[in-house]
Symmetry: C2
Subunit: 399 residues, 2 copies
């Protein structure tokens, strides 16, 4: 039997995935499991999107253009304009989810051995996509006691080698919910300029900024227009994770021409998804506001609740719908598994994501978890109660 | 401005793509262009698939499982059973088109520098996906005068090195329409066994075999069950290219476990596409037969017509909906471009794919084109007339 690739062996298996079988077992045993572990919004997809799918009036479900349907790309221009992001339809390439946008950005910009710098904790799959491209992710820890703000510039500069090709940020951040300030974004801009790096900026959570602090897009930064590669997706903002529609946006023509060759090889992004995503741009202000207010309330409820539990600490996330909280436990991988396999409170338990999967520096995140507030308040209330009760009796409690 | 990757530079631009702007120009100039260049079926998508999309009854369009929806995978088992392909739902991983299946097969099985052997002419994007994986495609020419049958085993053996990890075939073949015989498949099996190679087998055209000769799947070959990775797609058989639903099927558990990690990183294949693809398995026998008969007739009509034109030769393709024909021209890249930019017959012209894009051996395919019979007979009739008239006055005519 021929061997599988070393790359395949290097591909990480996320700690969340490892727990899925425990969650399945818990359910099979009759426990109710509250899913705080995944960024799958529970809010409804906008009706305009569902209607567009129902109204589909085509005889042949054919390939769409490799770079995406023109009318959709043109309509996106006005969407971005609302955020003061000035791009043309030609700058926008439609991808199969934000995942493909990150993958093609790496493939087009990075060669095997090239390095990118990413503040951690960070979305675990960036590492997976880097492995696909043969690129190396170097991480700089941000700290829970500093609210996961941007690490000092000197830490970035220390990591820069002649193989460093880019910096990657996620803003607002998954998993921390942190929103970079103008001052921080200026520091990133200066680094990008000084070392002539790519700035890969994943901004899929831009609709969800809660504190009144401004959302600073990488495209707002002057003087690095040709360095910026923006990653976007309709998954989170319209609760359309299943459509698999994202976008890669850049003013750098050489990058675009390269990305388009990868797009042409896979022929076409999903047709029906694009039709629904285009219709979603007509989503009512009311829907967007209701969704926003719902997350806003949940966030306050969750964070207040977490910080009321003895020994638990969560910074106040400014955006997205996650928080990384510190728990008084020996090992959050073990604790999260124990919650599923050994614990129940009134036949219920919770599934959280151990933070270790969001760090590459060994040992970090050991006493942290990521919690997604994609459940309604009543369920968050029960979840908080479960967490509180669990911590009372967890054998590995540390405080 | 940072440099794009060398890999991006190496990504091929297909000769078809290069001609698209000429086709657009021709249309802008008022010429009617018959598209014989692309494998986009013109036949309707089955109504059951469209209906399934219209009947979508979900509030949230959420992620589907990374390996695909279980009920769809289970239903596929009976579909394959009809072709005497015996697989379980666990052997099947749903992918975003056949493209993703090939890409993940390469990523999971091949490391940078590893080699695969492919008979040419072959589907151009295999090379693109190999570049993504850093793998090397070595080709063995098959010959139009031998009907594009399998090249001799010795030619394969000559190419085998300690980096050779697999053989890739497409059966029935794109671009040639060739269908491998039992004897040829046995030779492939013996090679795979002798050198312990992967056999990547793209069988997306299995529904379209016209001569009564049997379709031999790689899964029919005894003794290499753990070496076979089958690539499939609903695009061609149901005219559903836009859904982007394919599959990677293997009994090799190590490969599957590796592929699934790549699938998990990109989270989910398209949800709506899977719903439509699952419904498509209930497509009536009548639809399948009508589609089959339509291609069967077109094939006869096209091949007869081609071989009646002075200096033109096409073997009789046994499957798929393409043929590679030899033309009396100096350079089919030039000829295909000239047809779009310089020629018209009654304000009409044709767009064919120069065969050079399907060969990697320099110089091969210079006087060949790929013609897809995805147009109705009346349009094929006009297309043949256009080709005949064009060859009468093309300045680079050779015979």
């Amino acid at each position: 039997m021929p061997e599988i690739s070393k790359r395949g062996i290097r591909m990480p298996e996320s700690p969340i995935r490892k727990l899925v079988s425990f969650a399945d077992k818990a359910k099979a045993d009759g426990k109710k499991v509250f899913h705080l572990n995944i960024g799958q919004p529970d809010l409804p997809t906008p009706q305009v999107a569902i209607d567009a799918i129902k109204r589909i009036d085509r005889k042949i479900l054919e390939y769409s253009p490799s770079e995406g349907i023109r009318s959709y790309r043109e309509k996106l221009v006005s969407y971005y304009e609302k955020f003061n992001i000035k791009v043309s339809a030609d700058d926008i390439i439609i991808t199969t989810g934000g995942s493909e946008a990150v993958t093609y950005a790496f493939l087009a910009c990075l060669d095997p051995g090239d390095e990118i710098i990413v503040p951690e904790p960070s979305y675990a799959n960036y590492t997976a996509f880097a492995i696909v491209a043969g690129a190396v992710v170097k991480t700089i820890p941000s700290k829970i006691d500093e609210g996961f703000s941007l690490p000092p510039v000197e830490k970035f500069e220390k990591l820069i080698t002649n193989r460093t090709k880019g910096i990657l940020i996620c803003n607002p951040n998954n998993p921390t919910g942190y929103l970079y300030t103008q001052a921080e974004m200026n520091k990133i801009r200066d680094l990008v300029k000084k070392y002539d790096l790519y700035l890969f900026s994943d901004e899929v959570y831009r609709e969800f900024c809660y504190t009144g602090a401004p959302y600073i897009s990488a495209f707002h930064l002057k003087g690095i227009e040709n360095n910026v590669i923006l990653v976007d997706s309709v998954s989170k903002r319209y609760s359309e994770c299943g459509l698999r529609i994202g976008a890669l946006i850049t003013k750098n023509k050489a990058v675009r021409n390269s990305v388009i060759k990868f797009c042409q090889a896979r022929l076409s992004p999903p047709l029906i998804g694009q039709i629904a995503a285009e219709a979603s741009l007509d989503t009512s202000e009311e829907y967007m506001l209701e969704t926003y207010n719902e997350y806003l309330e949940r966030r306050k409820f969750l964070i207040d609740g977490l910080n009321r539990i003895n020994g638990v600490y969560s910074p106040i996330p400014m955006g997205a719908f996650y928080t990384v909280a510190r728990l008084p436990v020996d090992d959050s991988d073990k604790f999260c598994q124990w919650l599923l396999s050994d614990f129940s409170y009134q036949d219920q338990t919770i599934f959280m994501a151990p933070a270790s999967g969001f760090y590459t520096t060994p040992g970090l995140g050991k006493n942290e978890v990521r919690i997604a507030y994609v459940l309604k308040k009543e369920d968050l209330a029960v979840s908080l109660k479960i967490l509180e009760e669990a911590l009372k009796i967890y054998p590995g409690r540390t405080l």
